[in-house]
């Protein structure tokens, strides 16, 4: 078979290959110390696991409603109201998905038509661009800058808006930079959007992991933004439930309705066991989330200090569990740095350009590891950096 002629060229061209190779090397390597993981090191709190197990014991092994168990949607609504003061109707404004990723995919497919432009701030999580391309849309990236704390600045947004712009993706708190948008920052963005027909996909999967005085505010809570925003959240990061594959989208009934159709035909319904576990997560785990967040905050301080002591500039992140230090001083590219660091010191970190071209010159380090692990990794990175850097 000549597959090259058969396959969909859009899919065939997806994903940069260089970084993939690096990942394959890393994942094969044994006893490497890693700061490369994008998921919590905590195991899902026992009460949540126990609820999942109990649902299996009680024979809850059937499909649920397409949009998810009503009981779960109700709990999502309660949680969102209690935590952020935003109202969503569980009947038609919430869709339970297979992780936040499926919600992102469904949202993009629900509104993007061939030729539509989708604005994507970068560095950011890797899925927005390929999902846009597969929907026939045109990704238009916006480079956020270290000097702006990796926030999306209103002027940058204004510059990129055309009459083809359909959707803005707001990936905050941000993976890989740890950057956040404050309420005031978001209000400035809202001002630019006011009067346009641009929809917003606010990926708030790290919303619960915020540090410092300011609390997370969903974009839909910003004045005038409710009707144009779909908020994506999930259980993976806040409740340490990555493997359960459960997320959700909340937004205007019309859009959620379209997304539900996509979900219904592509997925049917999200895993039932995970849904039962998630009900318990929302009902009784505020304390666990708080404890995990506090722990991440300790580690965050340790790792930011560590990089600064090496003489690297390291922007202070106020969200998620990543730091994004700049390694330009070493004279190496991101990939070269990561490759050499792996070979010479057996430490795995992720090259910043995996998250967009403007991530070049940076590395992403996760602090979803014990303090001991972080300190050992920092010792090794410091030894490595001191070889290549002129202080």
């Amino acid at each position: 078979m000549n597959y090259d002629k058969l396959v969909n060229p859009v899919v065939d061209k997806l994903a940069p290959s260089g970084i993939r190779k690096f990942f394959d090397v890393v994942n094969m390597m044994e006893n490497a110390i890693s700061l490369g993981v994008g998921e919590p090191d905590f195991v899902t709190p026992w009460t949540i696991r126990e609820a999942g197990i109990y649902s299996l014991e009680s024979g809850k092994t059937y499909y649920t409603a397409n949009s998810g168990l009503l009981e779960l949607r109700q709990e999502i609504a309660n949680y969102t109201k209690r935590k952020y003061g935003v109202d969503y109707d569980p009947a038609d404004q919430i869709l339970v998905t297979v992780g936040g990723s499926e919600a992102i995919d469904a949202m993009i497919r629900a509104i993007v038509c061939p030729g539509d432009e989708v604005l994507i701030p970068e560095p950011s999580f890797v899925c927005y661009k390929p999902l846009t391309e597969m929907a026939g849309g045109i990704p238009v990236t916006i480079e956020t800058k270290e000097k702006d704390a990796f926030r999306l600045m209103p002027d940058q947004l204004r510059e990129k808006i055309t009459d083809k712009t359909k959707l803005l993706i707001l990936p905050y708190p941000n993976n890989p930079t740890g950057g956040v948008m404050s309420k005031a920052d978001m209000e400035a963005i809202a001002e630019v959007l006011e009067g346009t027909d641009i929809m917003v996909l606010s990926d708030e999967i790290y919303g619960e992991l915020r540090y410092g005085e300011e609390k997370h505010v969903p974009f839909s809570a910003i004045k005038g933004m409710y009707d144009r925003t779909v908020v994506v959240n999930g259980f993976s990061k806040a409740f340490a439930m990555t493997g359960w594959r459960l997320g959700y989208a909340m937004g205007p009934a019309k859009i959620i309705g379209l997304m539900t159709k996509i979900h219904q035909y592509g997925i049917m319904s999200s895993p039932t066991t995970s849904q039962f576990a998630a009900i318990e997560a929302l009902r009784s785990c505020d304390r666990d989330v708080e404890d995990m967040c506090r722990e991440y905050n300790y580690r965050r301080r340790v790792i930011v200090d560590g990089f600064r002591e090496m003489g690297l500039s390291c922007f202070e992140p106020y969200g998620a569990f990543y730091v994004f230090p700049c390694i330009k001083k070493t004279g190496m590219s991101s990939e070269e740095f990561c490759n050499k660091l792996l070979q010479e010191e057996k430490v795995a970190v992720v090259p910043g350009n995996a998250f967009g071209e403007c991530g070049e010159g940076f590395i992403r380090c996760s602090y979803a590891y014990s303090v001991e692990n972080i300190e050992e990794a920092l010792r090794r990175i410091a030894r490595f950096v001191s070889k290549y850097i002129d202080r």
Partner: protein, 161 residues
């Protein structure tokens, strides 16, 4: 800050130094040391202890929980008899309880006989003690919040985005 330090000590079971705590909290070492000293003086931090799973060592250690029913004494309540009991080094913990009995004593000894003799010779005859019930610990699963046979290892991929 006091509360934060206590959380860290509790979580790390005391196995942290001042430098590490100060990095975790973003405070100076002087501030952390001062706070620790203050809490030690006020007996908020009553001590630092290593939690040993004796089953994994060659040393034979037998632990027993003993329920004591006690006649409280006028003007003294249970305190006087409690004091007589906790002065023995074999007594590792002592609590005044609500419910069916009054004092809960945790004893460590070299053998069951050792513990039994202590109960028979020291505790039971003490003034005010009405009865004793001795329960030997067969296997510790979790001590001081630590699961002893925790098999939940980090099985994450080395790199995920």
């Amino acid at each position: 800050m006091m509360d934060e330090i206590l959380r860290i000590l509790d979580k790390e079971q005391g196995a942290v130094n001042v430098a590490k705590i100060s990095r975790m909290l973003g405070k100076s070492e002087e501030e952390v040391s001062a706070a620790l000293r203050d809490m030690e003086e006020k007996n908020i931090i009553a001590g630092y202890k290593t939690i040993v799973n004796w089953d994994k060592t060659d040393r034979d250690v037998v632990t027993a929980l003993i329920e004591l029913k006690v006649t409280p004494q006028r003007g003294e309540g249970f305190d006087k008899v409690a004091k007589r009991i906790y002065k023995y080094p074999q007594v590792k913990a002592l609590y005044l309880m609500s419910g069916a009995y009054d004092l809960s004593v945790m004893i460590e000894g070299k053998s069951m006989k050792d513990v039994a003799l202590f109960v028979a010779q020291k505790l039971a005859p003490m003034d005010g003690i009405i009865s004793t019930a001795t329960h030997f610990v067969l296997k510790p699963y979790k001590m001081e919040g630590i699961i002893l046979e925790d098999n939940e290892k980090d099985t994450r991929q080395v790199i995920t985005l």
